[in-house]
Amino acid sequence: MKHDLPPGRGKPMRLLALLAFALLGVLVAGLMGLMPGDLIPRESGARTAMDFFQGALRPALQHNNWVPPGAPSLFEAIAAATQRTILIAFAALGLALVFALPLAFLGAECTWKGNTSLLARWVPKSTRLGIALLRSVHEYLLALLFLAAIGLSPGAGVLALALPATGILAKIFGELLDEAQTHPFRAMENLGATRATALLFGTLPRALPDLAAYTFYRLECALRGSFILGFFGFPTLGLGLRLAFEEGDYPTVWTYLYALIALMVIFELSSAAMRRRLRS
């Protein structure tokens, strides 16, 4: 039975690497002053946690604080914030899609394969660098920057979400295009189609279900991003949550949390259903 033993055994290097990996974690944690003792909430923290979790059982159904007369009720406020959260996510992803697809084609191998011109040498490389750059700045950092540059408007949030999303979509789209079957593409080139035409009608339709499936997944990410934008002052669900949290109004926090969870569940379920359909 010995020959049947998995090949991975007897590789002490791996154990060593694992050990080094764990040690690195401990070492860095020590350097950063992260002590296990700090994982236990102090007395005040524990009380906050208690209050917070008690809020879960009795989420606020109306404003707990004073609001100016004529102000929208809590549910109206949440509904409006939810609408803005969704719209910002869609606006950002729509914008990202428009730019991601051309970028994906420019950066994909399949667009340039067999082309030896100078253009084919430099365009995909610089496109990929651009894609990496787009992705490298986190959307929340961008949001803060845009706040300073453009001012507090949903548009700034949309841009902040859209730029990194363009990068990641372009990157993944490029890979999906490269993985799509090349037979139709070749057949179309053989019947005289230009490379662009063959890519458009041979490669793209084949990859389209995968592209769409990934877009739906990204939509969930954009939604999470849009929610968090509220923490920086944008008028999404996160804003209300943060304000309530800072006032210690945990029941209201939980109302917002439940709204977020419901939103995420609805989106994940429908996006999963779409992806299942796209695969079949």
């Binding site: 037979h183 139709p184 070749r186 057949a187 179309m188 080139e189 053989n190 019947l191 005289g192 189609a193 230009t194 035409t197 063959a198 458009l200 009608f201 041979g202 339709p205 084949r206 389209l208 279900p209």
Partner: protein
């Protein structure tokens, strides 16, 4: 022959990664001729067809397809030439998630068109749909005009691929192993279809095949290819059994006398 040949190869050699695939292949295909290329697996049949279809440039020798040397043409003229060559690949090379009519309409993507292709592939005019339907009727599939291609059987997909080639309105029809994956009865049908279509559209037809009997029944001429060389090039009726044995002999058996 009084007409110029549809294609002519002179001493064509082709190497891929330094390995010779074709060596000193010379042949001519006349107008309206039905030619079968016979040979064992790996003999270079597909490569030869691709050279004839102007999609693969030989490393040496001369190529004339439809009176032109494809490898001296500018790229737009090469595309023009290719749009006149119908090639039915062995794997059909259809886009499975497009509709049948779209896959057939792709046959005309080789014509100059630019953005009009986008319209033609998404919003076909009534006349275009009639043409597409007509081409599909020729292969007996008119009713599947709007079917999703991936839901078709292998045989049906092959017919779609043939229809795509016909929709090109080609001057030459090539088919790579059209009967490689069908049972003998269907093989007979497919060959008859190809020959009929070639007759109806007055096209020269070149088909690569394994089956000698099938080739003899349906084509005028057989070319035996082995190890990248032409072993024989005869009218079908003159093909004798011992030649076929030599063509298909396994390497070890080669010298065994009978």
């Amino acid at each position: 022959m009084s007409f110029p040949p549809a294609c002519a190869l002179g001493e064509v050699g082709l190497k891929i990664d330094g390995r010779p695939i074709l060596e000193a292949v010379s042949l001519q295909v006349g107008p309206m001729e039905r030619v079968a290329i016979l040979g064992p697996s790996g003999a270079g049949k597909t490569t030869l067809l691709r050279v004839l279809g102007a999609s693969l440039a030989p490393s040496q020798g001369t190529v004339q397809v439809l009176d032109k040397n494809p490898w001296q043409l500018k790229s737009n003229h090469l595309r023009d030439l290719r749009s006149q060559i119908g090639f039915v690949p062995q794997d059909y090379a259809l886009v499975p998630n497009l509709r049948v009519w779209q896959n057939v309409a792709a046959g005309r993507l080789g014509r100059t068109g630019g953005l009009s292709h986008l319209r033609r592939m998404t919003l076909p005019r009534a006349q275009e749909l009639r043409d597409l339907h007509g081409v599909l009727e020729q292969v007996g599939m008119g009713d599947l005009l709007f079917a999703t291609t991936s839901t078709l059987s292998g045989g049906e997909q092959q017919r779609v691929a043939i229809a795509r080639s016909l929709y090109q309105e080609p001057a030459l029809l090539l088919a790579d192993e059209p009967v490689a994956s069908v049972d003998p009865a269907r093989a007979e049908q497919v060959m008859a279809l190809l020959v009929r279509l070639a007759d109806e559209n007055r096209l020269p037809l070149v088909v690569s095949l394994h089956d000698v009997a099938l080739a003899k029944r349906h084509t005028d001429r057989v070319i035996g290819l082995r190890g990248g060389r032409v072993l024989f090039d005869l009218p079908s009726k003159d093909l004798a059994a011992h030649k076929c044995e030599k063509l298909y002999a396994l390497p070890g058996q080669k010298e065994t006398p009978r």
